[in-house]
């Protein structure tokens, strides 16, 4: 593979040294320009780095060219720009534009050359750019990192280019997507439409609808089945009279409002029984269709294992049912199943294209992002003159101190190791609490998360104890399926209203310190489980750096921060931070809003820049 960048000469002082190259195949995967842009780096087919841009830019769901993630992936991989062999983009711009044109998007806004131009001009990349279809990227992101030698593949999302759903089978280096459902017939857009009708943000509030569903009864199944009808094989169709997303300015039409008989819910207004019932009905219909289609896919492929990706694959309730009630023996859902994870698939496909070898290996974890050393944290805390407890080289003692806090029903922010890829905090950037505490859910919401009270929090459980507490016969390291809670313990903080939970099973070989914490908590309390939710506040991305962690900790009500080898309690924070830090964060947030939104308000930045 020719390298297009040139390794240049260097030398003794003033004189150029011999050129050098690093061996191996380095492919950078990239997804961008819709929501949650991200990058990953495959070195010789091995995933060595991956991160969403939002974690660096601090703009939630940041869709922009992921320049920071790009630079960071190269740094993490220990390579320079000239060591890259290819950049792989996760969708076909021309196909996407043709669909947008069909949907009536203003011609001025259609630009199939934008991704390539952005990669050339923005990233400075001179070498080959390989683009792969959106659903193929999703499929590859699931299959190549599943560890399965062969598998059926199902990708489901709102829309990618023309397709909204794709079915296929994969083995070795090949993926054959043999059937697809075309836009506008989309389970993702169906779900987003009802999400919007229920007063939540599209591409953000779908989790909330899923969390709301168990509170309701499926009283609107008949209506939901008018919205979407299953067809033969893998097909289904939306009744487009009820939708307005193709050419309109909102997701649903007036016909849908008439059908459901109540006006759409306004944002932040009261959630009623009706809203719960609509959510439940939608969730039920989605699950029915997915189970039916996976059964068909199983029949068609005859393969025992299933790989899934696409935004709908983040519906962990449906995933649980697919596994329990469907025909497949094993299910692998790529943990960054939304568009951000498309970069993994694109990179894997590029690797195959360039080497004819299968990339990837069974994804053991998603701790693929930035990390900080204890010394870096120590310097930061020293600069802040924070009276932190220093446990360097004394991990066991530190864990006992953290357990003290947890046992005292405190909320602990836990920051350790590399940042997770994907929407779930899995013990790298987590907020932890005692799941037995009936007040914990409200406390987490009041102090930090500020999210809707109906939304459940998830448990993390030591792998070896999982079966004793959850109806789960296999590891679930990525929190991507729900199951019944069987625990002899009362676990109100993590048990949803329907008796389900969305556990993460923790393996000491993969996350040793997090597992050791669970073990320490278990030893002390007899409970091997902790509440685990992401370390962020509503409207912000998960914290990435120690600075983010400190800012989030200090400007919320979190009781304790375990920052690598240091523990800081809230009552040791400087008193004036209570006023200063929220004001600082407000300024930052408004700055971001300006830079991503209103051109006319740039004046603010002229001054806040200084």
């Amino acid at each position: 593979m020719p390298r297009t960048g040139r390794a240049g000469p260097g030398g003794e002082a003033g004189k150029v040294e011999l050129p050098y190259n690093r061996p191996g195949m380095n492919v950078l995967g990239l997804s961008a320009f819709f929501h949650e842009s991200a990058c990953c780096l495959l070195r010789d087919g091995r995933l060595v780095a991956a991160a969403e841009e939002e974690r660096f830019s601090r703009v939630k769901h940041d869709p922009r060219l992921p320049v920071s993630a790009f630079r960071w992936c190269l740094k993490r991989g220990g390579i320079g720009l000239v060591d890259l062999d290819a950049v792989a983009f996760y969708e076909s711009p021309v196909a996407k534009v043709s669909r947008q044109f069909w949907a009536g998007t203003a011609a001025d806004l259609l630009d199939p050359e934008r991704p390539e131009r952005a990669i050339r001009e923005g990233l400075g990349w001179e070498g080959p750019i390989l683009t792969f279809p959106h659903h193929l990227s999703h499929a590859a992101s699931a299959f190549f990192f599943s560890g399965f030698p062969a598998a059926a593949v199902l990708t489901v999302d709102g829309v990618g280019e023309w397709d909204t759903t794709a079915y296929g089978q994969a083995g070795g280096t090949g993926i054959d997507l043999f059937e697809s459902v075309a836009f506008p017939h989309s389970l993702g857009l169906l779900y987003s439409t009802i999400t919007s009708y229920l007063g939540f943000a599209v591409n953000d509030g779908e989790y909330k609808v899923m969390g709301l569903a168990p509170y309701g009864e499926p009283r609107y199944l008949k209506e939901m089945r008018r919205l979407v009808a299953s067809g033969p094989d893998g097909q289904f169709r939306l009744d487009l009279r009820y939708f307005d997303f193709v050419r309109g300015r909102k997701m649903y039409s007036e016909a849908l409002v008439d059908l459901l008989g109540q006006p759409p819910r306004s944002r932040e207004s009261e959630i009623t029984r009706f809203h719960q019932d609509v959510a439940r009905s939608l969730q039920t219909v989605l699950e029915e269709i997915l189970i039916e289609k996976t059964r068909w896919l199983h029949e068609r492929t005859g393969l025992p294992d299933l790989c899934m990706a696409g935004g709908v694959a983040l519906n962990c309730v449906a995933n649980g049912r697919i596994l329990r009630e469907g025909s497949f023996r094993r299910l692998f859902v790529q943990p960054a199943a939304g568009d951000s994870g498309g970069c993994l698939g694109a990179a894997a496909l590029a690797h195959v294209h360039l080497t004819d070898e299968r990339p990837g290996e069974a994804l053991q974890h998603v701790y693929l992002g930035p990390c900080s050393t204890a010394d870096e944290v120590s310097r930061l805390l020293g600069a802040a003159e924070l009276p932190a407890l220093d446990f360097r080289y004394r991990e066991a003692e530190m864990l006992e101190v953290v357990v003290d806090r947890l046992e005292a029903r405190k909320v602990v922010a836990w920051f350790h190791g590399p940042l997770e890829l994907g929407p779930r905090a899995l013990g790298g950037r987590s907020l932890l609490g005692d799941p037995r505490d009936p007040e914990m859910r409200d406390r987490l919401n009041r102090l930090v998360k500020k999210r809707e009270a109906f939304r459940p929090f998830a448990p993390s459980v030591l792998g070896e104890h999982a079966a004793a507490h959850f109806d789960l016969g296999h590891p679930s390291p990525f929190m991507l399926e729900t199951c019944r809670v069987l625990s002899p313990l009362d676990l109100p903080a993590v048990t949803h209203v329907d008796g389900s939970a969305r556990p993460q099973t923790v393996d000491a070989a993969v996350a040793p310190r997090f597992a050791a914490l669970l073990e320490a908590f278990h030893r002390r309390t007899g409970c091997p489980i902790l509440v685990n939710t992401s370390f962020n506040v509503r409207g912000e991305p998960i914290v990435a750096s120690p600075v983010d962690a400190l800012l989030c900790f200090a400007s919320t009500g979190i009781d304790t921060l375990a920052l690598e080898d240091f523990v800081i309690d809230r009552d040791r924070l400087p008193a004036d931070w209570a006023d200063l830090l929220p004001a600082w964060r407000q300024r930052l947030r408004s700055g971001f809003a300006r830079n991503t939104g209103e051109w006319s308000a740039i004046s603010e930045d002229l001054y806040t820049f200084v």
């Binding site: 000469p9 004189k15 131009r117 004036d576 051109w599 740039i602 004046s603």
Partner: protein, 659 residues
Amino acid sequence: MTRPPEPISVWEPREVDGERVFVRPDPLPLGDHFAAVKELRPKKAELPLRVAFFGESVAAGYLYAPHLTPARVLESQLRAAGGETHFEVIDLARTNETLASLAETVRTSLQINPDVLAIFVGNNWNLLETPEVSPYAPSVTARREVAAALRAEGISGPIRLAAERLHERAQATLEQIAFIARTVQIPVVLVLPEVNLADWETRQPPVWLPGDGAARWHGLYKVANHALERRDLAAAREAADSMLELDGGACASTWRILARIQGELGNPEEARRAALAEVDAAGYATLAFLGAPQATTAAREIQGDAARRHGFAAVDLRAVFREHTGEILPGRRMFLDYCHLTTEGIHVAMAAVAAEVLNLSGMLETDVDWQSLLRRLPVPVLSPEAEATARLGAAIHSAHRLLTVGRKGPILEHWLDAALEASPGVEAAMLDVAEARCIPAPAVLTAALRRNFASPYRLLLQHGIRWDFLDADLLEAVQAVLERRGTPARVWIARLLLQHHAMGEEGTDLAEPPYLWEPLERFFPEVMRFEDLAERATVRSPWPATSFCLICNGEKDVRIEPTLRLPTVNGSRSGRVAIEINGVEIGGMDATDLWSRGTLRIGRGHLHPGLNRLTLHWPAPREEGGAALQAAIRRLEQGLAADLHPIFGEVFSLIAHTA
């Protein structure tokens, strides 16, 4: 039917004990842009006569507020001259004021029954008002419009377009204000701003020039600067005249060089004309580089015309300051920076306004002139700590905003020295600022900021508490000034830098933002990550040199590994990039328009402990400028953002390791 009450700026209407009041949110702990006046109430009695005072950051007392504001100075002057109970001034000035919000604030201020409107604006009449006239505007239509103007008239096309738009918008706003004033029959006083012509410089490169004009211009720029350094004024003049011929007067920096030459020649009037041309030529119409808010000739003329047409009283600060100081080029005596006023500047400016208000009020038996009034007025009272804080703020602000044609250090050191003269205790604040800048975290998290906040030298956001750049010029100025006074700041700063920025095993990438020596040397939209522009993972240089901060202990050699290229619009390009450390060339690297990576060892003999300035000197682009500009126009016609300036070099990474 009565209109429901409306907010006046940030003051929201409330009903308190049956009375309408307008209440502002509590100021943020880090400061905000509005007067620290909690409540505004409708006027109830004939007296005091109420002056509503509007304006931009100058009028808001930027860097002095809340300790001292022009509105409070004006009020105390009016009371001193016209009677303690006869006047009050309502401060509705705000930093970042724009025409649209000015008109709205004037209109809504009628709810509190002003008797006089005093308006002090014009410095912000630049990109804030015509942001769409830019090759970076996030609008296909706007870009095509810029393309059409460029195609028809060259660079003067967009400049004309921006000027026309500004004229229309400003005139319309002043018409609205005139209408409001006529309707309620109250007088208007317009304050025509003066700007800092002596000490504020605008360094901006020219757009692509025909042929090899851009390369020649930059060559001449270097010649002119070197000639000025050695006081060879004839050579400097010759070079500057050639630059002017090349850029047609559209480049601010050529005018600055001419102003400096004329100043050195002892021709202050000529220097003044050149400095005014510099202000007028500052490249807002391209929005490629950040300039400073300074009222242009056009902005002053628009206001002068409006005053004549509508019968507004006008206070021309240009004439007032000139008469007061005798200075032909107003400078640091009246200005802290490009346009913000010193205590004396505020005092004099407000005295001139007070004279107009007093004469309009009819409360004096005979009219008063500002000169005689000024002699009678008490000097504004300000604590030495507040004065020192403002001067330190001026140094910080200049470190961030000032891009000089000449050297930057002297002006920063001037303001630091001036701060220490006002109150020697401000040294602690300087050290706190330096410490906060050395720490790779938001200043708000540092103990240094907490110490500063607990001190009488509290620096608010507008004084530059940000964290993403090392602020090398400021660090150097602080250490120079404090060392001269016997404080061992150099060693202390070096220790802090090494503590927080020592090169790890992976090395330090100097192309990351904290290590850019002068962050604003880049294209401004890139610095600010504007919407709809391609994000950039690289550092592009629109200047022949780019400097980085290299931090080391000076005890070992350092190996650097640049990955760089020489961008080109068409064809190919190659040349040698010279590498310099602390002003000494130590080697170079051959480069082309494709990325190259090289390594270079820097001997420890060239390195200081702490901050070192590593500079890449790029070869000049040799492309045909007319064709390059045409290529930019074609991009704009496609609706794409386009650079109108040559790019000398581009860096992807610049890894520094201890060798």
